[in-house]
Symmetry: C2
Subunit: 186 residues, 2 copies
DNA sequence: TACGATACGGAGGGCCCCGCCACTTAGCAA
DNA sequence: TTGCTAAGTGGCGGGGCCCTCCGTATCGTA
């Protein structure tokens, strides 16, 4: 018993492919109707496959998020714990600042459902946790920092720099400030 | 030669008053039509007085921004340069995280006109500059930090925490992390 | 091949932003 | 006070988006 009909799977793939391009150019506010039109399906079909805008964004960014999670796992075996953490944070920052709509998806995540199911933030937070824990044990990170804090801060930086001429560079610069501290105690 | 007719001034004031409430409850995405309806004017009148959404937001937040600028000038005479800066950053954070739409207005600011005229960020940046300079000279702040950086970072934090149960508290917590540094060098 | 469940998409309602344009009214002058 | 003129107004229509409903086409199977 195929859980899904063949045409449904086809449409899902078409919509997702179009959505990726559309979100890449127009960000998280891309028109769902425009996506439907370009994909050659009715707008109801888009809604059927992706009940909410966030569901669509989640699907669009799943790959990117997985890539970042994998990178975190690789870096978890690096020798320099601090450099490993910073490396990952830098990658996360560049992704967030470069990929249109990703930061929005991260922040709007779990906006309504208070329980679990933050499909964007959670994988990243879980992937980053070992990295953070290790750095914490080595005294390379301030106490009281959670993985979600890191993702939130970086998403905020990305959102704040998205209208800058060079978002990635500016976001990276602000990340460095945040890492080093604006006004660390001497 | 009255630059403006009496009824125009009246409508301007009515619209602004309604807009303040509406933005306070619905944030930066408040419906301009709803504002017009509540104010008892046509939507065209709203557009005439405030050609863009940002122009309206700017007017709505002008008072708040002025208050923050005044606070900065007061703190500029404080003895403890570091505490003065942090105090102001804290106030800026609480405002940005509490006042619906303020952070958005700060970030969307100067989005289109590349030249001067960032009517929200500029006054804040100029007000904060002496505070920052003083702290810099005293070695209490990392080099390479600009006033705009501070406003941008804080606005980003506010945006990132706006869906949190207690935005002001969460934003303040993240500000402290940013000030102290995520991973300051030992 | 015929049937039933699944999936589709067009139509319609509601809301919004935007621009146009005929009308009203405030403020000045006679 | 009265009349004139331009500043100011707001209703209307166009276009777009989101969302829902429901009749219809298609798939997979018996």
């Amino acid at each position: 018993m195929p859980a899904q009909r063949a045409d449904a799977r086809r449409n899902y793939a078409r919509i997702l492919a179009v959505a990726e391009e559309e979100v890449a150019t127009h960000g998280a506010d891309a028109s769902l109707e425009q996506i439907a039109r370009t994909a050659g399906v009715g707008s109801a079909t888009v809604r059927r496959h992706f009940p909410t805008r966030h569901a669509l964004l989640e699907a669009v960014f799943r790959g990117r998020i997985e890539t970042l999670a994998t990178r975190a796992r690789e870096l978890a075996e690096s020798d320099d714990v601090r450099a490993a953490l910073l490396d990952w944070l830098g990658a996360l920052t560049v992704y967030s600042a470069t990929v249109q709509g990703l930061a929005t998806a991260l922040l709007r995540d779990g906006e309504l459902d208070p329980e679990h199911a933050n499909p964007c933030v959670n994988p990243l937070a879980e992937a980053g946790e070992p990295l953070l824990r290790r750095a914490e044990r080595a005294g390379a990170v301030a106490p009281g920092v959670t993985p979600v804090d890191l993702v939130t801060l970086i998403a905020g930086i990305a959102l704040a720099t998205q209208h800058h001429p060079d978002p990635a560079a500016e976001a990276t610069r602000l990340l460095h400030l945040t890492v080093a501290g604006i006004s660390p105690r001497a």
